[in-house]
Structures are given as C-alpha cells and as structure tokens.
Amino acid sequence: MPKFRLNRRYVISALLKQREDTLVVNGLGGTCWDIASLGDNDFNFYVWGGMGNACMIGLGLALSQPKKKVIVITGDGEMLMGIGSLATIALKQPKNLSIVVFDNELYGETGSQKTHTAYSTNLSKIAIGSGIINSSIITTKADLLLLCSKIHQIKNLSFSVIKINQEQEEIVLPIREGAYIKSRFRKALLGEKILLE
C-alpha cells in the first residue's frame, strides 16, 4: 500500500475543474505535464525553466492583477529551490494567491531521487513559519475536495501541500515557446491592444 493515496492527475483535475478565469502558473516538471493533461488554456503560464521561481512569477502576477485569482501549482523539489520566496510572499500577503505543492517526495524528472520532504522537511511548517498562516498538508480526498471548494475564491493567501503518490503518469507536453506562451497569456488577460504597446 503506497504511503499516500492521492493520484496527481485526479488532484489536478479536481483543483482546476471550476477554474473559469483563474490564472495558473506551474513549476517546471511534473506539474507542467499535469496541467497540460487537462487541455490547453490561454490562462496557463507554462513554466519550462528557472527552477525555484514559480511562486515569484505568481506573486508578481497576483500583485498586478488583484481582482484575478492566481494559483501556483508546483512540485516539492521546485518549491524547495525557491523556499525563500515563501518569506517574500508572506510579506505581501496577496489575498488572490494560492500556492499548491504536489509533494511526492521525489525529483521525478531526474530519476526519482528523494527530496528533503522524504526526510525531515515539512513545507507547510516552513510556510507557517514564514508568515503564511493559512497553510496545510492534505493527504485525504475529503480534505482535497474541501480545498477545491475554496481555492478559486479571492479571500486569503494560502499554501497547501498535497501529498501525492509516486505513480508515474503519462508525460503530456504543452506548447513550449516561451515568448509565445507569454504573449498569448498577456493578450488573453489584457486584451489584443496590449500587443501594440
């Protein structure tokens, strides 16, 4: 019996089912393929590089668009590389930002080496210690569905670690040309005229 039962593709589907115009930023690697597995969307900013910076892209976006919900969905390895960003985000407390970490305790893209969360590191406690009070670890379907019912609301900065199982899923690659992903996102969010500025 696996240590954690939640499947990442089930989780991503539940999280984004009711997304409407929610803006989604992923961390590089598995969470990118997870989001792509749901189909393409102009409000996805697919991050393919710059490991450790997904949450900060989300912060800049959330600060510039306070009326839009921004969700960053990243993995435990990516989050660990940018762990200081939790302290930075806590200083700003953007109400419209939620961070979700898919934690399988592995570096999935590089041969399944264990990350720090397989040992002593508790990302949720780091978030709380950084000043993100609304922080939790989710291991059950019931808790996941409770999160899904609230995550698209603009209420409070939140940080959720979802313990997912270590099953390998099909790799679904989204578009990868960075300039195109950027311009398409900006056009969808800000309107066609933005491309003329």
């Binding site: 900013f45 910076n53 900060m56 892209i57 800049g60 960003s85 930075t88 700003k92 950027k182 969010l189």
Partner: protein, 177 residues
C-alpha cells in the same frame, strides 16, 4: 521630500524615482544595498509603487516576469554581488520568454573598495551579464543617471530586452566603516 527638492539636480536617487514615476513603474523588487537606500526610501513613501523586499535577487527576476504578464512594469535593484544570484533565472525565464527587465546595480569591488571579498564579483559583473546578451551601461556621473535609466527602461519595455545599469562606486561613494 524636502531633502530631495532642495538639491534636486544632485540628488540622483530622486532623479531615478522621477524616472520611475514618468514610466509608470509599479513594482520595485530589491535586496537592499547602501547605494540604493535613498531610492528605496522615496519609492516606499509612494503608495502607488509596490515594494517587494526579496530574500535573494533571483526572486525579483521571477516576480517582474509575473508583473509583466499582468501588465505592470517594474525594476530590480541590487548590489553587484546579487547579479551572481540571479543568472539562471535571467537566462531561463527572462531570456527564454523575451521578457523585458531593467536591473539597477550598485557596484562594489571597484573604486576605493576596502573589502577584498567584494572584488571578484564586482570585476565579473558586467562580463557575466554580457554572457547572457544583457545590455550593460555604466553610470559614472550624476548628470548621466536620469537620462541613462530613462533610456534603458524604454529600451527594455519597448524591445523586450534585458538591460542593466551599473551605478559605479565612484558615483555612489565607496563604503567605509
């Protein structure tokens, strides 16, 4: 702002603040440096500018990419040692997606530096940035600051380029304890 208005011509940090206002800069990401102190103070006193204090300069590269996705311009303030901290993100996010970026870098390790540990990164700063095809311009004179930053800011946001203005230690004054 009395201090600023009294000697406006020679108050280059205030001149930079004015350039920020003229260009509708909304997000200032920074790791503090003594050379940026007055500029940070001016921006902090402006409720229309969001100040984002970073734990590491690299965070500012991601932040300003996100800001631009959402339609806001910004600038990243750091000391020369901070350039080393953000290289991969500049390459793998800003360059990979053709994001605009303006970096204002106060120099250490050159004019009258007293700390030998500052010298290697100071000497490497421009070369490291140029290796990523960043446009690098140095400011040595007070009279050049405002015009240079205005030009580099315009260049960044009109051409999706990455521009660094190095504010020389001669301009900001060498640190001495």
């Amino acid at each position: 702002m009395d201090k600023a208005s009294n000697n406006k011509k020679y108050n280059w940090p205030y001149n930079i603040y004015e350039v920020f206002k003229d260009n509708k800069i909304k997000q200032i990401a920074y790791v503090p440096d003594a050379g940026h102190k007055d500029l940070i103070d001016y921006c902090e006193n402006d409720k229309n500018i969001k100040m984002i204090s970073l734990t590491s300069e690299e965070e500012g590269v991601g932040l300003l990419a996100g800001a631009w996705l959402g339609g806001e311009k910004g600038a990243l303030l750091m000391q020369s040692s901070g350039v080393g901290n953000c290289i991969n993100s500049i390459a793998s996010i800003t360059r990979a997606c053709d994001f605009p970026l303006l970096m204002l870098v106060t120099m250490r390790g050159e004019w009258n530096e007293f700390n030998p540990w500052q010298v290697p990164m100071g000497k490497a700063t421009a070369k490291v940035l140029e290796a990523l095809n960043v446009n690098v311009t140095r400011c040595e004179k007070i009279d050049d600051v405002s015009e240079t930053i205005n030009a580099m800011l315009g260049l960044a946001y009109k051409t999706n380029s990455i521009n660094a203005v190095l504010l020389s230690q001669k301009l900001i004054g060498a640190k001495d304890f």
